[in-house]
């Protein structure tokens, strides 16, 4: 297992490298002059040259890239052009918010999706099954922001409930924190749950068709044992892969939900960076999010290699 883990980590390196190159290249392609953005169009050439030198923008691209990437590896993501504050500390503190949102949403979606998916598979073609399928279809079709707005509308008009504003860290005031996070996390979780629900249902159905389920029943197992001990364990493998990919959708969806609920997360930081043309910030944020996503996928890969005895470690 250890060798397998090491190998998978090594396989990541070209991907991480490629991501950083892509981000850097894209950032360089953005039209619009950083310098003009800061100094205005009337700046004198000398002033421009000075600023360019300060930010190292006059050097060849490869040098700029290496400079940046070496800095990143040392934990230095550079400074914001707007605020001159170092970027990484802010990313990390904001990441706590996004991470909490994402994790809560993920847990909520699993708690909804997996039981309902199993139910639909087991009670195939009954009312429960059809209900779950419709619910899943809606889940897949309703975008997070549309759901947020409609829900806020309904809650405010019908129940006079307005989502609390402002943010409080979990460790400062857990209750208040949960109050603030529950609605955005629930919305995000529900909008993801559709596809996990469908995958669970089809995966469990597929497994229930397998021969070994017949054997288990022939041994005298109850349906509950057949499903939870045998079917679910086998069905979990494609589900885990899907969940890994879902984290990406969650991270993306978090960007929007943070905007709607004014949560000080990484998504909001990225958007602000784009709107303000604060390129180092955008660069750092996107890199960080991509890295996190890649890491999460690595973890899910390792997880199902651990669960499935058929995967060989050499």
């Amino acid at each position: 297992m250890k060798n397998y883990t090491i190998r998978r980590i090594l396989q990541l390196i070209p991907v991480l490298f490629g991501i950083s190159v892509l981000i850097f290249a894209v950032m360089k392609m953005i039209p619009g002059d950083v310098i003009s953005g800061i100094l205005g169009v009337e700046a004198t050439p000398e002033l421009r040259a000075q600023l360019a030198a300060k930010y190292g923008l006059d050097r060849p691209y490869i040098v700029q890239y290496l400079d940046w990437i070496v800095g990143v590896l040392h934990g230095d993501f550079g400074e914001s052009i707007r605020t001159s504050a170092p970027i990484l500390p802010e990313i990390l503190s904001r990441f706590k918010v996004t991470a909490e949102l994402t994790i809560m949403a993920a847990v909520i979606s699993w708690c909804i999706a997996i039981p309902l998916g199993v139910l639909a598979a087991v009670k195939r073609n009954t009312f429960a099954d059809r209900f779950v399928r419709v619910f899943a279809l809606l889940g897949v079709s309703v975008p997070g922001f549309a759901l947020s707005i409609l829900l806020i509308l309904v809650l405010s008009l019908a129940f006079n409930y307005f989502p609390p504003l402002g943010y409080v860290g979990f460790f400062e005031d857990p209750l208040r924190n949960l109050q603030i996070m529950i609605l955005p996390a629930a919305i995000l979780g529900v909008s993801i749950s559709g596809s996990v629900m469908r995958m669970t249902r089809s995966s469990v159905l597929e497994v229930l068709r397998q021969d070994f389920i017949k054997t288990v029943r022939a041994k005298g197992a109850s349906e509950r044992v057949a499903i939870f001990k045998h079917a679910l364990r086998n069905a979990l493998i494609p589900i885990i892969t899907l969940i890994g990919m879902q984290i990406g959708s969650l991270l993306g969806g978090a960007v929007i939900v943070e905007q709607i609920f004014s949560l000080p997360g990484l998504g909001q930081m990225t958007l602000t960076g784009i709107n303000q043309r604060d390129y180092p910030v955008v660069q750092g944020c996107v890199l960080f999010i991509a890295f996190v996503y890649v890491l999460v996928n690595l973890v899910t890969d390792l997880l199902y290699a651990y669960i499935d005895p058929r995967i060989s470690y050499d």
Binding site: K219, G220, R233
Partner: protein
């Protein structure tokens, strides 16, 4: 009753939606299995032999169901008779794996890839006996030795994908016999195996028969397997039993034209004939069975009555049943 298993008038239906009546895949099947008997069920693919035997344990897969009037009487270990069709789900579960066991055709996919061999053998014990972990381990080990698996200690710790088809089938037999069942249903257990392995497995089963008190229902399409292992044989065609007798009679003096045809097809492989014998025509599909004998349009000896009236399964000589107008007394009134 002094028989182990008595199936009477078994029929299995497949629903066709709300507007059409269900199709009977199997109809009017009568089978009697005695204690410690090797009973063969032979027929082509799709003739209904597998689902008939699955229904003995109540393991019909959705949406199939037993037709009205089906009766399956079974004598349990303690001597009590039960009507299987009337049992609750919980009672059926007690029967499965303990009084009646089943092994299947594809050993490579018959076991859960997520659990070790030991866990899966002990699961049978878990459902039906209360033993300590150490006792279960010893019992599993002992079973593996009985099915002649080399290095059983190591095999217990392995996962199914580490084992070959032959080994897996031995494990399946071990699982099936560990609780000393009265009846073992073997659904084409050697079809998916190499010929040499096939012979080994059949030999193993024959040997085990000596030490166990178990009757075996051997389902197969392979007459060779029947010849090697069975005492009594029932021949299935198009969802019905068309002939039943002891193995010698079936092989040397078959009464039903279908059985005779089957034998001729097999024997022609070894003989010095020019052509392979085949039974002309094809098996009718369920729902398209004729009103008369289902074999009529393929039969060399077909008579008028065969097309119009379905023959019943009757005893044409002691211990020999046949469903054919050639041997049954034709009814007095006839329509040509």
């Amino acid at each position: 009753m002094d028989h182990l298993l008595e199936i009477r008038n078994l029929s299995i239906e497949l629903p066709q939606g709300r507007r059409k009546p269900p199709v009977k895949l199997v109809e009017g099947v009568d089978l009697t299995v005695r204690k410690k008997q090797n009973f063969g069920v032979v027929g082509e693919s799709g003739c209904g032999k597998s689902i008939t035997c699955s229904s003995i344990m109540g393991l019909l897969s959705f949406p199939l169901s037993l037709g009205q009037g089906s009766s399956i009487r079974f004598q349990q270990g303690d001597g009590r008779e039960v009507e299987i069709t009337g049992l609750s789900k919980a009672e059926l579960r007690k029967l499965r794996g303990r009084d009646i066991s089943m092994i299947f055709q594809e050993p490579m996919t018959a076991l859960d890839p997520m659990y070790t061999i030991e866990e899966q053998i002990c699961e049978s014990l878990l459902f039906h006996a209360s033993l300590s972990k150490a006792e279960m381990h010893d019992a599993a080990l002992e079973m593996l030795r009985k099915v002649k698996i080399p290095r059983p200690e190591q095999i217990l710790k392995d996962y199914p994908h580490h084992l070959s088809g032959g080994m897996l089938q031995r494990v399946m037999i071990a699982i099936a016999l560990i609780n000393n069942p009265r009846l073992l249903i073997a659904d084409e257990p050697t079809t998916a195996l190499d010929v040499t392995i096939q012979a080994q497995i059949l030999d193993l089963m024959n040997e085990l028969r000596e030490s166990y008190d178990t009757s075996v229902i051997m389902i197969t399409h392979d007459l060779g397997v029947i010849a090697e292992t069975c005492e009594e044989v029932a021949v299935f065609y198009a969802g019905q039993v068309v002939e039943q007798s002891d193995v010698n009679t079936i092989f040397h003096a078959p009464a039903h034209p279908y059985t005779a045809g089957l034998l001729r097809s097999v024997l022609s492989l070894g003989g010095a004939q020019q052509e392979l014998y085949t039974i002309q025509g094809t098996v009718p599909t369920a729902g398209n069975f004729s009103v008369g004998c289902r074999f009529a349009d393929r039969c060399e000896h077909c008579m008028d009555i065969c097309r119009n009236r379905a023959p019943a399964l009757s005893e044409i000589s002691p211990g020999h049943l046949c469903r054919c107008w050639l041997h049954a007394d034709t009814p007095k009134e006839e329509t040509a």
